[in-house]
């Protein structure tokens, strides 16, 4: 029976799982050249037929057991990426590989299989729960959809409710409006866990919670990850939370990845001018050391007509003509091969006046940052 696998994965036994031996060398999830343009329909004059370039050629990998943080501001494509990964929307181009199997296509992994392994937790804990389902029904819904018997689904629902710290005897028969925001988000996590997925996509999962409750849910997420050996993709606009929870980060701007690397590298030695501005925009938490100048001027341009070449060039203090002519590739720079950025000023021979000399030592510009 299809559901059996799901039920039994609750206590992972690495030795018996062929998957885990592979994971040492191969990533759990590989995304290549992911692209999604949304066509604007009717309405606005002159805009009909235009496209919102929501996600434009995004590639990354997620290793088994790690937490990849995805940060960026509104319109950067982080939520669209999450929906593409879950196939809630179909990508225009690009390939998603889960444990070496292509997702979709003729011989690829079916959506049913994909969604048993990958689950999504949304930001709005209220809107994402069916108001007419009790918590046990809500959590067990996916199990029943995957072909598991009602009684078994109910038993499993109670099990995961308990796992997220909600006593089933009290909460199983309640409706969403009878719960607080934090409790509702726990139910969302429980629902995602019901099918024993290996990867959780957390799309702003703590963003709408009050701080005191956010900390509870963050602790829960960390605890569950360790207990069930999960892999996380943690999407958030909150730079401090992403730093706190992530192993690696992906910084996005207007549908592109502008920088990626180990979290401490990206936060302490950011390469891309946008990443630097974003990190510097964090509030100080110290009234005696207030931010005195805005790290970057202006707003994000519209993703309908993004700037040519480097999409950040319109706000970038170091923009030169090369930046508008060519799009910078995402390349490793500095001393850590895992740390890359897409900026002409970091790429040897790019034609940018701040770029290191081609073939030269990356010595003096090791951390490449134009100051």
């Amino acid at each position: 029976m299809k559901g059996e696998i799901a039920i039994q994965r609750e206590h992972p036994t690495p030795a018996s799982e062929p998957v885990d031996t592979l994971s040492a060398t191969r990533p759990f999830l590989r995304v290549q050249g992911l692209k999604k343009y949304f066509r604007l329909r009717g309405g606005s004059f002159g805009l009909a037929g235009a496209y919102v370039q929501a996600v434009d050629g995004v590639s990354f990998v997620v290793a088994t057991g790690e937490t990849l943080g995805v940060v960026g501001e509104s319109g950067c494509g982080k939520s669209t990426t999450a929906r593409l990964l879950m196939r809630l929307i179909e990508p225009d181009e690009g390939q998603i590989t889960l444990q070496d199997r292509n997702v979709g296509g003729h011989n690829g992994m079916s959506l049913r299989t994909l969604r048993r392994q990958v689950q999504l937790v949304f930001q709005d804990s209220y809107a994402s729960l069916n108001p007419r389902h009790t918590m046990a029904e809500e959590v067990g819904f996916g199990l029943i959809a995957q072909g598991i018997k009602r009684a078994e689904a109910r038993r499993r629902a109670n099990e995961v409710l308990e796992l997220v710290g909600l006593e089933p005897a009290i909460f199983a028969d309640r409706y969403p409006h009878e719960l607080s925001g934090g409790q509702r988000q726990r139910v969302n996590v429980a629902r995602a866990l019901a099918l024993s997925p290996q990867l959780l996509l957390l799309d702003e999962a703590v963003s709408s919670l009050d701080k005191s409750v956010e900390a509870q849910v963050l602790n829960l997420l960390i605890e569950i990850k360790n207990r069930l050996n999960l892999t996380y993709v943690f999407i958030s606009h909150d730079l401090n939370v992403v730093r706190f929870i992530s192993d690696r980060v992906l910084v996005m701007y207007l549908g592109k990845v502008v920088e990626t690397g180990p979290v401490e590298k990206v936060y302490t030695a950011p390469g891309h001018p946008y990443t630097r501005a974003l990190i510097a925009s964090r509030l100080s938490m110290d009234p005696s050391r207030r931010v005195e100048a805005a790290p970057v001027a202006g707003d994000l341009p519209s993703p309908i007509n993004p700037p040519s070449g480097c999409r950040f060039r319109t706000r970038c203090p170091f923009a030169e003509s090369v930046c508008s002519l060519r799009e910078p590739p995402l390349e490793a720079f500095g001393d850590d091969p895992a740390h890359s950025a897409a900026c002409h000023a970091l790429i040897p021979g790019s034609g940018h006046s701040r770029a290191p000399a081609p073939g030269g030592e990356p010595s003096t510009r090791a951390n490449g940052a134009p100051k």
Partner: protein, 335 residues
């Protein structure tokens, strides 16, 4: 222009004086007490931050000051703004002080601005209405205001509709609108919460600069400690409709007194947070329809004792300008 140095605060009479402010929402068979007795003074040139989580009463407190609440609301207590008793004003007089003595900016400029009029028209309208000047004079002021809030190519933006502006520009336009008649008090309700990080800091810097330039007093509602640290002179931490701690922002952050403030600081992830586990406050904020007896924070408080549930503790002075509403604090420092 008001001086904003320390000594002048003592000599200046407060611009705003609030005593025993309460706000309740009544409907059939139900009464919800959102604000349960708030007292404070505010002088020109100063910024008071109301800091709290959802349902703590921070927004209702602020809106009560200009009685900008639905008809089901009952507002009690004394509100004196620049010599005017706000509680006694009729609708016409209330409208006259809104925009001139006091004005407000909101979290979501898209819904706060009128979508069918240009930004320039909306700003000019306020000036024409309040000051009785001509439309061309109003439009001239609108241009000055957009320049003041650093809107690039302001002349062109005068004729923009709000949907044509980016989030940051929209928020600047709303600030221009609020300040068009030079109010003495600006009420800001989470004006940067919906903005992106790189834009949020621009707006906070702008508000700080405008306050230095124009010398108005500001009440700033936020749930974000980081925002409070950037903008506040004083902060009042709210919980269940009451101030639980007040003081200079630096002191409150450095030496929090109330267990709720301590818990809030511990559960906030900030730049210096250690990896690992956070120390959250257990439980959830109380249901305003079903408040616990005594201290509203007691059910979540790790230091609660039996006496906490007996009565609501007083907001006791810890030292001059510094108060906390906790029996542990009032016991150690008898006032």
């Amino acid at each position: 222009m008001a001086e904003s140095s320390m000594p002048s605060e003592k000599t200046n009479p407060p611009l705003l004086s609030v005593r025993g402010l309460t706000a309740a929402f009544r409907s059939e068979g139900m009464s919800l007490d959102a604000v349960n007795g708030v007292d404070f003074d505010l002088t020109l040139g100063k910024t008071l931050c109301l800091l709290g989580e959802s349902g703590s009463g921070k927004t209702v407190t602020m809106r009560s000051l200009i009685r900008l609440l639905p008809p089901t609301a009952r507002i009690g207590g004394r509100i004196e703004l620049d010599g005017v008793d706000v509680q006694s004003l009729d609708d016409e007089h209330l409208r006259a002080i809104r925009g001139t003595k006091v004005s407000m900016i909101f979290q979501e400029p898209m819904t706060a601005l009128d979508p069918v009029f240009t930004v320039g028209h909306q700003i000019a309208e306020v000036v024409v209405w309040h000051e009785g000047v001509s439309w061309s004079a109003g439009r001239k002021r609108a241009l000055e205001m957009l320049d003041l809030v650093q809107v690039p190519s302001a002349r062109r933006r005068l004729d923009s509709y709000s949907h044509e502006l980016s989030g940051g520009l929209r928020q600047r336009a709303m600030i221009a609108l609020a300040l068009a008649c030079r109010p003495k008090l600006l009420l800001a309700d989470e004006p940067t919460t919906a903005l992106d990080a790189t834009v949020q800091i621009q707006i906070l810097l702008l508000l700080r600069e405008l306050q230095r330039e124009l010398g108005m007093a500001t009440i700033f509602v936020t749930h974000d400690l980081g925002v409070a640290c950037e903008i506040a002179d004083r902060v009042a931490v709210m919980y269940a409709g009451r101030f639980v701690e007040t003081g200079e922002i630096g002191e409150v952050i450095k030496t929090p007194q109330h267990p709720y403030t301590i818990g809030l600081l511990r559960s906030t992830v900030h730049a210096g947070s250690e990896k690992g586990r956070l120390t959250p406050i257990p439980g959830a904020p109380p249901d305003l329809l079903n408040m616990p007896p005594g201290c509203a924070f007691a059910p979540r408080c790790s230091r609660a004792v039996g006496a906490c549930s007996d009565h609501v503790p007083e907001l006791a002075q810890v030292k001059p300008g510094r108060e906390a509403r906790c029996i542990l604090v009032s016991e150690t420092t008898p006032s």
